[in-house]
Amino acid sequence: MATEEKALQKELTVFEQHKREWLRNHPGDFVVIADETVAGFYPDYESAFKAGLGKFGIQASFLVKQLWAEEPVYLIH
């Protein structure tokens, strides 16, 4: 679990640093980040993930994150 908690921390930091700026042009899109490299913005999770695999390869770690003004909390009833 500790590894999972640390996973993608650098990418999440990059995301937080640029979120406001990206939200202006890409609200609702999915951004793909590996290390500090941004692979682009995509309209859905599937195309974003495939783009990440294409750019970084299947053995690389990369973040796929949707751009929201307010981070949603998902409910499980």
Partner: protein, 144 residues
Amino acid sequence: MKLPFTPTTLFQQGPHLEILISATKLEVIEGRAIGLEYPDMSVRALIDTGASLTIINPQIATTCKLKQTGRQKINAVGGEAGEFPEYAAAISFPGSRLPSLDTTRVVACPIIRQPFFSCLIGRDILRKWLFTYDGRSGEVEIIA
């Protein structure tokens, strides 16, 4: 796809089906080309209209070598709450003509309140289907 339950079974267990979870199709194809193996896993999944996202037990992510793509904040009524790892997965429906989901998000969170199920199919997948629940006859139908 019709899921034939008795009214009592449907009431007691909820609408459920067997699914096959694995890494995404692209990872499996590309991985095999370089000698990597991605196991799949057959699990019983509850169709849960109360779940915003599709949830799997964390062990599935480990066994199937799913790639983590982020974290999601989850608030589970009467159970876990917090941030949980999100993975990319493929989900297929053996024995049915329902189209497979080659790349879909799943969140790994212990399913405490539904011990008979290892996956909750949430509204992120349900938004792709017409889902009919007839509690009187016990018939459940999914049309993709």
